[in-house]
Amino acid sequence: MSSTSSTKVDMNRAHKDYCQALKREKIRVAVCAGLGCIVNGALELYDALEAEIKAKGIYADLCYLLEDESNSGCSVVKTGCQGFCEAGALMRIEPAGLVYIHVKPEDAAEIVERTLLKGEIIERLAYKAPHSDKAVAERNEIPFYSGQKQIVLRNCGIIDPSDIRDYIAHDGYLALQKALKEMSRDEVISTVIDSGLRGRGGAGFPAGRKWAFAKAEESDTKYMVCNADEGDPGAFMDRSVLEGDPHSVIEAMAIAGYAIGANHGYIYVRAEYPLAVARLKHALKEARDNGLLGNDILGSGFDFDIKIKEGAGAFVCGEESALLASIEGKRGMPRPKPPFPAQKGLWGYPTVINNVETLASVPLVILRGAEWFSSCGVGRSTGTKTFALSGKVRNTGLVEVPMGTTLRDMIFKIGGGIRGDKRFKAVQIGGPSGGCLTEEHLDLTLDYDSLAKVGAIIGSGGLVVMDEDTCMVEMARFFMHFTQSESCGKCVPCREGTKRMLEILEKIVAGKGTMEDLELLDEVAQMVKDASLCGLGKTAPNPVLTMIKYFRDEYLAHVVDKRCPAGQCQAFKSYYIDPELCKGCGKCSRGCPAKAISGKPREAYSIDTEACLKCGACVEMCPFGAISKGDGTKSKEDNGRDG
């Protein structure tokens, strides 16, 4: 651990100086540099804006503002994810509270000229609701943002994650100072218990109680671990927090370390998140350089430092005991509990493991108090929850709402409804360990207890929306394929059970399923759920069980009628060309990877069903909409007609 004692920062002074400097910042242009926006050219946009603002002679970064008390101007920063990934590249203009979407580097000059200098709104870059021409640029009036409440994402999208001074100016590290200087270890723990903050990684265990268990253990060595092994496909909130506000996690880990009596911390982060790792490394260095990590933090006598451990691609490592095994350099296999990690964790020492999002809530809980935090939410689910909204919904992105928001508000208000105005079918919540919810659950509130009642879990907060074109049997097969390949193989029920379940589902999807298979599937699912060792196996059957419960019709259609109502399963799928609509342009024939389409120019083409790979490329290519897919029943006659 690095322990070079560096220049101690005087927090009160630093906070005051940086805040005053920021008051002289007349305008802040915050360009979203989250992954989604970077892919859509955010970095080029940033360069263009910076150049334009400099050309106007009004550029002022934090260094310039700090230099002299008379300096003022306009700054431009690269921030973490601003959430509305669908509309990237995104930018925010503060304090005017404007959001521009789908911005291109070419727009920079106009933005500086019209919006920054003259205060005009450029309607072309503003949000427009579907089926509406009304341009809305005010952040608070865009439905995607207006339904949100941001605690975890408070700084994401507004501060520069690579500058610790910006974090401090936004009340960063004040909670650490408060904990170290004004609160006893027990007070810190009781504040977190009273706030009702529960683990955001999936299980929902009260965070403060975990801390209390670890503090009660007598040991010279203890560890504080941050679980950033965000493995649930369809969830990316932890990545966004680490990229957009890494100091909030570091600060929280130091607070937790102080409370439980740990001097060493580890952040276990997925190797698939290279940007998050880079931002974390930089933030750790900044924190050490400012004496916020290392020996005698803020003159309190408390020592704490953090190391990063990169995972190597194993979903099961999100499970506490498997994660600890992986940090120790071993195969990431879970072990039976008790003893719990708080008693015997890393190398046998008491260890607390908290998820990224849980930790990111901690600084505000300490700073503003338990009551402030618990006033948000419902019942035993306090605070907010971040959801990653994806799939067939119009507005994909990252959303933070108070616990207890309804699914309907989430999908139709914030999410803007289903793409292409298709029919909503289901939403998969909580990743491969969660369950699926249907139309009848739309008014269900999103919190730990109401979801548990219908057999689903919040999990890490992935919400994958599915429309009428998504086959639920195929979806169940997909999840089973995932959990089966991620099963570590230690316990028999999970290792063998998931494999057998996958085989049955593959058989049904291939059109060879029988009624006995359905019964067997149900039986094996119950067994895997009851008898598996760790959370992975115990929850693996959830998608299958909820899908059989709510979409039994679709299973029966595959098994009895031998058809796929959503028209998605390859085995039942066939394509045909409508001779009435086909103009004989030959575009499909030239683009077909299997060379299965033939015909004469200006006459109707036809598909050789034997050679057809059923890839669907022709449907996308046809300019006349003449090619359609059948779901199994219809297609037989159609193809007969086609010859």
């Binding site: 992954l35 989604g36 970077i38 892919v39 859509n40 990934c85 669908e86 965000e230 493995g231 649930d232 496909p233 369809g234 969830a235 990316f236 990545r239 997925r270 190797a271 698939e272 998140y273 290279p274 451990k309 990169e310 995972g311 190597a312 691609g313 194993a314 979903f315 992986s326 940090i327 120790e328 350099g329 071993k330 195969r331 990431g332 296999m333 990653a388 909204l389 994806s390 799939g391 067939k392 994909t396 992105g397 990252l398 998969q428 990743g431 491969p432 992935g462 994958v464 599915m466 998504t470 979806m475 997909f478 999840f479 995932f482 570590c488 990877p593 790979l613 890839c615 669907g616 490329a617």
Partner: protein
């Protein structure tokens, strides 16, 4: 070692020299991380970056130096999806087949990549060792689905046309 000396040295010495050189990089990596068993995963990750896979003799060598059993090293190498025991191509394409991408038809992207790379079912690396193609469970770019990662860079909202453009560009660069 200068090449002149290498050329003059007897054949056995040259082989030994080559072997030493090969392990020299591994030694540097192990030295940087330290020999504690908890560093094994980080060491293997860096070795794989160097060689693009984990050669068997190097895994055995690591086990010897770190004083752990070769089966432990092999166990870790085979447990984690990131490690490969076979040589990988120069450019690594990881197509996301997570839930969000799957719902937005990642299969279409997978099929079209296989076709462009002339890979048969079960094959992952092109014969010329230019590309390795893998599917991964989620790269966290769900809002950009369907997405893929090429040499660490993310590409989103993919279509077969975009795939062709990306692959053709690399093929052209490699051909130069």
């Amino acid at each position: 070692m200068s090449t002149v000396m290498d050329a003059e040295a007897p054949a056995e010495a040259r082989v030994l020299n080559g072997t030493l050189h090969k392990f020299q990089r591994v030694n540097e990596i192990i030295d940087r991380h330290g020999k504690a068993p908890s560093n094994l995963i980080a060491i293997l990750q860096e070795v794989q970056k160097e060689y693009r896979y984990l050669p068997e003799e190097i895994m055995t060598y690591i086990a010897t130096v770190m004083e752990i059993h070769p089966s432990s090293v092999y166990g870790v190498a085979t447990f984690y999806a990131q490690f490969s025991l076979e040589p990988k191509g120069k450019h690594i394409i990881k197509v996301c087949d997570g839930t969000a991408c799957h719902v937005r038809n990642s299969q279409w992207i997978i099929d079209s990549l296989r076709e462009h790379l002339h890979l048969k079912q079960g094959e992952h690396t092109t014969r010329d060792m230019i590309f390795t193609f893998e599917t991964v469970a989620c790269i966290g770019a769900c809002a950009l689905a369907p997405a893929m990662m090429l040499d660490g860079e993310i590409y989103g909202q993919l279509t077969p046309d975009k795939i062709k453009e990306i692959i053709d560009k690399i093929v052209a660069e490699e051909g130069e």
